[in-house]
Every structure is written in C-alpha cells, then in structure tokens.
C-alpha cells in the first residue's frame, strides 16, 4: 500500500525546516523574540488605511490580472525605472508574486532544472538550497570569509575570494543567487564586489537571481547597487523585491520579480500554473502606498529612507547591548539582522545529547534559560560550512522599543545567574 502514496522524488529530504522548529518554540509570549524576521513595529498608518479603502470597493474583492494588478505593476515600473535608469514595461517586465519567496520559487522553477548547477553564497537565506534541489539542480556553495583585520567586526569584513568564486563557475552553472543587502550577515555588496560577480556571469553566460528584499535598508556610508544596472547584466538578471520588507507588512505576502521580458515571460508561465493570481485588495493598497512614496522619493520623509534611519538607531542600540554583555556582534551595513559570535560566552553544552550543531543547542538553551530567542546561523549554511558558522546566532532588530528594552534587561543580567 505504501509505495503509491509516497511523496515525489522532488521533495525527498526537503521536509525539515529551521523555522518550523524555532517559530514554534518562540511563540511563547514570555520569550523575547528576536528570532524570526518580522517587525513588531506597526506599518505606517497610510499603508493600513489604503487596505481599508481597497477592501471597501466591491470589485477589488474579485480576481485581478494574473501577472499583477494593473495599478501595482504600473507604479512598480515607475519606481524601478527611476532607480535603475531604464525603461521597464509593467506588463512584460514585472511579475507580482506571493512574497519574494514566491518570486524565488517562480524564478527557480522557470529557469533551473536537472543538470544545472546554481551557485549559492553562504550563509544564505535558507530556502535557496531546498528550492534549487526541488528543481532537480545542484547547489554549489561558496562562503563569505572573514578578512583577518583585527578591528571590530562589520559585515563589510566578510568577503568572497574572487579566485575561489571563479572556480565555482563551469559550463553547467545556470545561475548564481545574490542577496544584497544580505540576510543574515547584513552585508551590502560594493560596486567592485558586484563587478566581480557580473564579470563571471557574463564570461560563463550565467543568469543572476538577485534577492534585494532589503534594498531600502542600508545604513550611513553605504549604497545599495542593483547588479542588473551593471553593463551586460540587465538581460541576464531577475531582481526580486518585497512589500513585506519595504513597508513592514510581512503578512501581506506580496513580492515581485523584475527583469527582461525574455526571462520574466517564463516566470509568468510558472505563475499561471501554480497560483494564477495574487490577492486583489492587498495589491491595490500596496499600489496606492507606493504612489505616495514614489511622489516623495526626493524627500527625506519618504518611508524608504525614514524606515532605514529608524532601523539604524535600533541597530546601534542592539550592537551596544550585545557588546556590553561581552558578545561580539558583526555590525550590519544593511538589513535588519545582526549576527553574533557567542563562543566568547563559553557556554558548555557538550552534555546536551542531540546531534545538532552548537548554535542550535545554544539557541535552545538560551530560549529555555534566558527567555530570549534568536536563530542559529548554521541553518543558513551548506553541509561543509556548518562547522565554520556554528558559533554564530542571528538576532532580528526590527522591534519596538519595549522589545529591545526587554532584551536589554536579559543581556544586562546575563552573567548574574
């Protein structure tokens, strides 16, 4: 009986997931949750208002255009035309998806298959690996490596070795997945770093899947550069964005893929055969919110910039708290995560029986004994690199003051138990 009801080969081994483990544990309200990346700050009020307005319009409660609600793709094309400095056709160059997660899935299903290799930079947002595997392809990992500087750690200190990267490319390499600003590290790839990647993509005729969900969250002294704007890259790049990260509405699950028609059309085929269309009222509300900010893109009050400023001070506060507790945070140049080396605390977990990496055990211990949650970094690594990163954990700091206050209390009292 069993064999006929067995799961397909494509999902074999893809059932476990760090989030399923850790979000359950942290759901306890007495835990200060700095784990999963979701804001506990409110989205801006005009964003919430636009959704109320949209839901009151009868026809907006029915199906809209499959590849993206017209007013939404129109404003996305305007915003990104401005950012990229090139014409973007709202109907052919854009696909609206269920979150950036859905864009990653559509892109990988559309363009990657058995026999392909896909380069993934470690640490990586954990879904890249199972998605590449589900498409039947082989993930090829390359780690960011710490430049031995001596000075206090910044995400900029973590870099790719150009020679090592070049060695990962071969005739089977179909794509490289880039994530900038980077989750979990917070690294913002510089123009020079992007050029190294671009040169290899062009040389090997490789595609680039550029996950830029944190594109607006870059801190002073840093600039987000779109790899698609480098010469020779537009025609081979799919750039992914997220409403959840742009407007602090992760629960709206809207994202988008932008690129040349000859790539986006294949994503559209996947989309029409997977979920067909995204929710209408959310898309309309998002479109209206984008119009408001598009009109003030020259103004510092634009939410794209004001959120970034707000998060920079939270970043600085988080870093200070961690340092005062004797921890070594890696200060991120972008994004809303911060990774921390916890080995300095010398917490001995060798008596914990589980065959899990140190950081998994550490986080579980920290949740149980300190009532503070984070995410273990080895969840974001391929099999060969887990050892290298198992002394790191990731904190999310897009949290309201009271949450950070509660974290402060825990960190200040860390050694008093």
């Amino acid at each position: 009986m069993a064999f006929r009801h067995k799961n397909t080969r494509r999902i074999e081994g893809l059932d476990s997931n760090v989030w399923v483990e850790f979000t359950k544990v942290a759901a306890d309200p007495s835990i200060v949750n700095l784990g999963q990346g979701l804001p506990d700050i409110s989205p801006p009020s005009y964003v919430k208002e636009e959704l109320t307005k949209a839901a009151a319009v009868d026809r907006l409660n029915q199906y809209t255009r499959g590849f993206g609600h017209p007013s939404l793709v129109k404003v996305l094309s305007q915003v990104y035309e401005r950012v990229c400095g090139r014409k973007i056709d709202p109907l052919t160059d854009i696909l609206v998806t269920v979150g950036a997660y859905g864009s990653l899935f559509s892109t990988i299903q559309a363009l990657i298959e058995e026999g392909d290799e896909v380069i993934i930079i470690e640490p990586f947002y954990d879904c890249y690996e199972p998605m590449v595997k589900m498409a039947g392809a082989k993930p090829v990992f390359i780690p960011l490596r710490y430049k031995n500087d001596g000075a206090s750690a910044s995400s900029a200190d973590w870099v790719l070795d150009p020679a090592e990267l070049a060695n990962k490319f071969n005739s089977k390499t179909k794509a490289i997945i880039l994530n900038t600003p980077h989750n979990p590290m917070g690294k913002v790839f510089t123009r020079e770093e992007l050029q190294v990647i671009a040169d290899l993509c062009i040389k090997h005729d490789t595609l680039c899947i550029s996950d830029e969900v944190y594109e607006w969250l870059v801190y002073k002294g840093n600039k987000h550069i779109k790899i698609a704007t480098l010469p020779g890259m537009w025609e081979r790049t799919v750039t992914i964005g997220s409403a959840g990260k742009t407007y602090s509405v992760t629960g709206w699950k809207l994202g988008w893929s932008i690129g040349p028609q000859n790539l986006i059309k294949h994503l559209q085929v996947v989309h029409q055969n997977t979920l067909y269309t995204c929710p209408t009222p959310l898309q309309e509300a998002l479109a209206q919110a984008f119009w408001i900010d598009y009109k003030r893109m020259d103004d510092p009050d634009c939410y794209f910039y004001s959120l970034s400023r707000e998060l920079e001070s939270k970043r600085d506060r988080m870093a200070q708290l961690l340092q005062e507790a004797g921890l070594k945070p890696v200060i991120p140049d972008g994004g809303y995560f911060m990774i921390v080396d916890v080995s300095t605390l010398n917490v001995d977990l060798s008596d914990v029986d589980e065959k899990q990496p140190y950081d998994y055990k550490f986080v579980k211990w920290m949740i149980a004994s300190k009532k503070l949650s984070a995410i273990p970094l080895s969840a974001f690594c391929g099999p060969e690199t887990k050892r290298q990163f198992e002394k790191y954990i990731r904190f999310c700091f897009i949290k309201k003051d009271s949450t950070l206050d509660a974290a402060e209390v825990i960190l200040k009292n860390w050694n008093k138990q």
Binding site: T8, D15, R59, N61, F105, S171, L254, L275, P279
Partner: protein
C-alpha cells in the same frame, strides 16, 4: 557551448505556456458589454465577511499585518477543522489535517507536486477545469482523459448536467499500473454536474482496487440546486486515507480576489503538501485568513438555519440559473441545466450560421464562435473546448460556457442581447 544553444527556460514549462484565460480575459475587457465569461461574481461578498475584514484591520492588533503560521492562521485552521470535521463525521486536528493555501489553485499545485512524479499517470475527467492538465505535465506526469458522455434527455425536457455520465467500463479501462491519482471535481466546472452517490462509489471502488490517490476539488460544494446533496467522496468507505479535499473561500464566500483556499485530509498525505508549500510560498497573507475564519465561525453558528450564507447563496444562484436557462432556451441556445456551480453550458448549434465553418483553421469552432460573439454582440462566454485536452477539443465544439453569478441587471442585459440577436436571425 551547449548552454547557449539550449533554451533558457526549464523543460518542465514545455507545452504549458498557452492559457486560454489570457486571451479571453483580454477580449472580454476590450469588447464585452456583458461579461458572462470568467468565473467570478459581479456582486460583493456578504456584509458579515467584509465587516470581519474591516474589524481585523481596525483592531489594536497590527500584528495581523505580519506573518502568521505558515500552514494556516491558527483561528482559520481551527474553524476549518471544526466545520469539516462536523461535515465528515471525523475528529480533525487543525495542525495536521488542514492546510491553508493561496486559493484552491495553489492547493491543486501542491497536490500535483507532492504526489505526481515523472511517468505517473493521472486520470482527469473531461470536461475539466483547465489547469489540471498543465499542472500534471509540469510535475512530469501523464494526463489520461476520460469523458463525460451526454445521454439524450427525456422527451421534451432540457438536458441536465446529470445526463452527462461516465461509462463505467471506459473509466475502468483507464486505470493502469502507472496510475497514481484521479482528479475529481464535483460540483463540476464547466458542466455543473453534481456526481451522485452511485457515481462516486464507482470511482471510489476503482481508487481502492488500484490503491490510488484522489484529489477532490470541491470548491463549489455549497452551490448545489434543486435540493441535491453534495456528497464528499472522502466520506465513502476506504476513501479518507487516500483523498485530499480542496476548498475555496473565493467560491464559498464570493470573494475570489482574496485567494484563500485549503486542503483537508489525513496527515500522511498532508505532510507532503506542507513540504511543497514550505518550499514554494511558505506563508499565506494573514488578514484575509482572519476574516474567513470569522466567516466560518458565523456559518458554524448558523449551520442549517435559513440565514446561513451557505443556504442563501445557492438559493439566490438557483434563481439566476433558472433565469438564464429561460433566456437561452427562448432564443434557441440549448442550455444544459446545471445541478451545481455557477456555470451553465449551452449548445449554440442553431446559431452556427453566423460564424461559418472554416476548413483550414486549427482553432476549435466554439472558440471562433465565442470570439466572434464577444466582438460582434458584446457578450462574453468561454468555449467548452477550453476544458478539453488538445486531442479532444473538436469533440464537443458547439458548446459555450456562461457564468451566471451576476447581478440581475447583468443577466437582463445578456437577455436583451440574445433577444435582439434572435430577432435579427428570424427577420426575412
């Protein structure tokens, strides 16, 4: 280099890029004055549901704008487990027997990806909701088609969707060693057929005999007319363990734009749907799930009572069905009276003279007819051939599908067009 000569897209997209909706939705938008084509209501969702959505937005809890539980918002899965548990006579665990999806469409996708491997055969009953075929192909499976065949109606009566039936021997012959899944859609889109207990038992027996899975698309479960009963195949003997039931808030609550659907079934099967879901979209939008949960709470409280939306909606739609049946019959378009759904298929043979046959065209006759009709009469409908596989598109090429989930004014306007058209035909 080999890579440069290969197409950039993956092979799994082969043969699934065409989609009739892209064409017909565009035509309707450009030419139609009365759109009875794509299946969605032109009336609003019920007030209690809209209010639930507004309540969710206006509440203190702004966390409804953030991620909820990936496999389904806790309140929604709780309500679905309670509601469907009651209907199925089973104790359902909201965490393991229910999964929420982005519309029933994504539920279907998860099922095919979870259970259909390269070389697996999937039985699809024609006519079928068009996405089944490309989804099976994208999963590397082989669709195997078996048609509903029309029996002549009793003398003087209009044909009913009940007159379209499976031939038991023909159905049995479609099962092979490679058959993994059968897709059932009852009530059926486009015909409106509501499979009877006898028909479901026939299918169930074969599922059990060949030990295969059943994907049961029941999105129109509440839209059944004339006192007919929607029977859930999962409640038949031997079926719960091998069936995934799919439902839709869009159809249940007339809110297709919310894209909230669900799957119900044994954990043994749902665990694999969860794996696909967590590796494809992961989370579904939160607010609409909260509102749908409250909608179900209300319906649970009012179950069986006259104010229940699940009683009022089919009552309202039955009237509209009867109205459209009358409209079509009066002008010579022969309606097949649907037992369920909000679709109605009509035989347009008497109008064929308006659209002459073209011998060298690849396009099925009904498709050309429907396109001519929207351009020249402003009335949008969908050709029945859209719901058949490529090889069978010309088998039933003189039928078109109308959606009657429309305001009275819309149906009246459709009637006006039909009447005028008829008059033009009978003028000397």
């Amino acid at each position: 280099q080999a890579k440069m000569s290969r197409p950039v897209q993956a092979r799994r997209l082969e043969g699934i890029d065409k989609n009739i909706w892209v064409d017909f939705v565009k035509l309707a938008a450009t030419y139609s004055t009365v759109n009875l084509g794509q299946g969605f209501p032109d009336f609003p969702p019920p007030d209690f549901l809209k209010e639930a959505f507004m309540r969710a937005l206006s509440g203190e809890n702004h966390m409804l704008h953030q991620y909820t539980r990936a496999f389904g918002h806790p309140l929604l899965v709780k309500m679905l487990a309670q509601f469907f548990g009651k209907l199925l006579g089973r104790d359902l665990d909201p965490m393991t027997n229910v999964m929420v999806t982005v519309g029933a469409y994504q539920a279907l996708f998860c099922c095919f990806q979870a259970f259909v491997d390269e070389g697996d055969e999937v039985i699809i009953i024609e006519p079928f909701f068009d996405c089944y075929e490309p989804m099976v192909k994208m999963a590397g499976g082989m669709p195997v088609f078996v048609p509903l065949r029309p029996k002549a109606p009793k003398d003087g009566k209009l044909m009913s969707s009940a007159d379209w039936q499976l031939d038991p021997a023909e159905l049995a012959s479609k099962f092979s060693e490679r058959t993994k899944v059968i897709v059932l859609n009852s009530p059926n889109n486009p015909l409106g057929k509501v499979f009877s207990r006898g028909e479901l038992e026939l299918i169930a027996d074969l599922c059990v005999k060949h030990d295969i899975l059943c994907i049961s698309d029941e999105v129109y479960e509440w839209l059944v007319y004339d006192g007919k009963e929607h029977i859930r195949i999962a409640s038949l003997r031997g079926m719960w363990d091998r069936t995934v039931i799919i439902g839709s808030a869009g159809k249940t609550f007339s809110a297709t734009g919310w894209k909230v659907g669900w799957t119900v079934g044994p954990n043994r099967l749902l665990q694999h749907l969860r794996t696909v879901h967590q590796n494809s979209v992961y989370h579904c939008a939160t607010v609409a799930q909260e509102a749908v949960a409250q909608g179900f709470q209300r319906e649970l409280d009012l179950y069986g009572k006259p104010e229940s939306y699940f009683i009022q909606l089919p009552k309202l739609l039955q009237q509209k069905r009867d109205w459209l049946v009358q409209s079509l019959d009066a002008v010579g378009m022969k309606p097949i009276v649907p037992e369920g759904t909000y679709f109605l298929v009509a035989d347009i043979s008497e109008f064929k003279s308006d659209v002459p046959d073209v011998t060298d065209s690849d396009e099925p006759y009904d498709s050309r007819f429907a396109k001519w009709m929207v351009k020249n009469k402003g009335l949008a409908a969908i050709p029945l051939s859209a719901f058949y596989c490529g090889a069978h598109k010309n088998n039933y090429d003189h039928f078109i599908r109308f959606c009657f989930a429309k305001e009275e004014a819309t149906l009246k306007a459709a009637n006006d067009i039909l009447q005028k058209w008829r008059q033009e035909k009978t003028r000397p």
